[in-house]
Amino acid sequence: MPMDSNAVISEIKKGVILESLKNGKRLDGRAINDFREVKITENYIPKASGSAMVELGKTKVVAGIKIEEGTPFPDSPDNGVMALNVELLPMAFPTFESGPPSEQAIEFSRVVDRGIRESKVIDTSKLVIESGVKVWMIFVDIDILNYDGNIIDACTMAVVAALRSAVVPASKLGKEDFKLPVNSTPVSVTMAKIGDELVCDPDLQEEQVSNGRITITMSEDNHIHAMQKGDVGEFSLEEIRKAIKTSCDTGSGLRKELFKVN
């Protein structure tokens, strides 16, 4: 992810990363398909309807969910609404700036959103209060607190964890609060192309030397629900097929490890 001048990395470091990869090794000792250590803290923000903090190596993100009443879209009167936004906070990285969301932030938001939405994690038909008049709206906000590579996967993990812990505040309407029904457990796997290798969960310096990124989000059904080729770079169809296989294998492993589902 060439994020302008502060993202410049020395040619020497680049050489070391490439050389090491030729022997199947990454600088932090990981294998090509390994993720960094993941730590998920559920219910990190008790005042939110659902929340989670995710630490993916040194990348740190917090997803918080607020569930509020609102009006449905006119073309889908019998569905609740989900909106998702990723904030690249200026505290997280020297070149992140305050102000309206950057192209980069919007791309991240939309890729994470598609993975969650298309995996049908939330059955929005169960979020209707009064058909065509009132529905539950799920606002998912994700703050990036520290950026050390692979924001997309950290965000997807945080959103899934937060949704799994979320409670719909129906007591506001004199009914009983209920756990947000969650139907699937999508996991996104982002790979960076470095030389001829595809490495999973690139850290910052790996992103800086990479030629292209690809994210594939799959659910328990092992179907592709979202895919995004990002950054300038080229992939052969062979590489993309390999990436799908990796996403499938690595994703299943993560799903089991992090969310205890198969």
């Binding site: 889908s76 690809i214 092992n222």
Partner: protein, 240 residues
Amino acid sequence: MEGNVKLITDDGLRLDGRSSNEMRPIKLQTGVIEKADGSAYIEWGANKVVVAVYVREAYPKHAQNMDRAIVKARYSMAGFSVEERKRPGPDRRTMEISKVISEALSSAIILEKLPRAEVDVFIEVLQADAGTRIASLTASSVAIADAGVPMRDLVVGCTAGKAGGKIVLDLSKDEDNYGEADIPMAILPRTGKVVLLQIDGDVSPEEFDEATSMIVNAMKDISKIQRDALMKTYSIEGGE
């Protein structure tokens, strides 16, 4: 909503009568904007898109890249381009599309030949009917060539997707709205490398393979349309 619309008829055809691997008709023309350095107009089914390219010194100066050009595509939709009026100006969708188009074009242009330059690609969708991003990208590479910018190849885009349980080429509006998956993709035909790829929906890895091979097959025809459009403008009467 899904499931209520029958996208594949009993005789196996699509609602608009196409077979699964049949494209909509494409018309492509260069030199449509007189003031621009290069331009193109594409009609892809009912999509109508104009692209104009300006090549200039990047501004502000600190944004210049000393060893290569930067590419800035701006995808925009006219207010009247869709069923319900779209509020003009960038939104999250158009900003993402601008980004992925810029990145795809960056792979096609020989950026090192134009240090400190900026290649501005202005894309205006006059009428939208599914598949505007790849129609825009296909037209943009022709407009960039028309501007005389050195290129490795002409990017070719096409979508495939899943509708009514079947993998189909070049989704129609209905298939895009009510189908199961949308797969826009763009390739540099010379090397077969993928420079744009997005998916949303639900496809298995096998279906993905089927969709991509359909797209790759269609690329040859689209590539020819691009070359013909340039030849029409630049071939010399009576020459070789």
